[in-house]
């Protein structure tokens, strides 16, 4: 069983955007742990990018996260399922969100989940994130 947990920061050599099926190397935040996914090689992630998103983001400072070379942003409105087979080589996870950023991210995730009709996805994200807050 792989070990990736909520709030881990990973780097994918091939991060797939579920809606467009496009892919690129990207940092990503684990939204749901692999242990509870339907297929355990999958992870529910939000992409982390240095490009400034218009809304629903949490800023990650490169000063706080040594794996980042630029200040970056968690795009909390994205929920992409990615495979651990697409992770970059080397030590993973690269880092984990600190307590302050965990709280900020959870707050932002809730703002997005507010309009979601899928009650069990909503319930699971809330359940898993509240374990680490």
């Amino acid at each position: 069983m792989n070990k990736y947990k909520v709030a881990d920061l990973l780097h994918f050599k091939n991060y797939v955007f579920t809606d467009t099926n496009e892919s690129a190397p990207h940092f990503a935040l684990v939204l749901l742990p692999s242990a509870i996914m339907d297929y355990e090689h999958n992870l529910l992630c939000a992409v982390v990018t240095s490009k400034f998103p218009k809304k629903y983001f949490v800023k990650l400072s490169k000063a706080k996260y040594s794996c980042l070379t630029k200040d970056s942003y968690i795009c909390c409105s994205r929920r992409d399922i990615n495979s651990i087979t697409d992770l970059s080589k080397g030590k993973q996870p690269l880092d984990k969100l600190n307590k302050v950023d965990i709280k900020k991210t959870f707050k932002t995730l809730k703002a997005i989940l507010y309009g979601t009709k899928d009650i069990y996805l909503m319930a699971t994200i809330v359940r898993e994130w509240k374990k680490i807050i």
Binding site: D38, Y114, D118, I119, M122, A123, R127, K130
Partner: protein, 176 residues
């Protein structure tokens, strides 16, 4: 196949993936009860359907509907064996999958919800599971009632899930 039967098969499949080839009847009842408690806590409604109810028994909540579902699944999808341990007077009823179920008719998000609950409780011993169950709101309410009526067990009394307070974050989200 009923929704309850589907959920039972999914639990057994998940347990098998986690290296547990079988679950005892007591474990299964407790896991299904805790799944229902978590569903009420996070969604305010049952995870099963209106036909599934739990009643108080001397070892915690049981459900006639689950017994019936297990009987309906027996032989075709599951096997129920009795095992006797040398140092324990009662047999252990072990429930295992007869064959691997390829297609489980649950939504992906329903599966991850079940997984989230099961991942937390599946590794626990029966004794720890029992402690968790007795510390849930419906069982605390039942035990309070038993104290008031000065009886050890209100056997057969229906478990009231409406006593479970809903998660505050979920209240905000659902009221959208």
């Amino acid at each position: 196949m009923s929704r309850l039967e589907t959920i039972i098969l999914y639990l057994l499949t998940r347990a098998k993936q986690r290296g547990k080839d079988n679950l005892s009847k007591i474990e299964l009842f407790k896991l299904l009860y805790l799944l229902e408690v978590e569903a009420y806590k996070l969604t305010g409604k049952t995870f099963f359907d209106s036909t599934v109810s739990f009643t108080r028994d001397k070892n915690g909540p049981i459900s006639a509907t689950i017994y019936h579902a297990l009987n309906d699944l027996d032989d075709k999808y599951i096997t129920i064996n009795s095992q006797q341990k040398a140092n324990y007077p009662y047999p252990r009823h072990c429930i295992s999958l007869k064959k691997l179920i390829k297609k489980i008719n649950l939504q992906p998000s329903e599966k991850i919800f079940v997984n989230s609950v099961i991942e937390e409780y599946l590794p626990m011993t029966i004794s720890n599971l029992k402690n968790v169950v007795y510390n849930t709101e419906p069982m605390k309410k039942m035990q309070e009632e038993e104290r008031q009526q000065k009886v050890s067990v209100l056997k057969g009394y229906q478990i009231d899930f409406s006593s479970i307070p809903m998660d505050e974050d979920m209240v905000d989200l659902i009221s959208a």
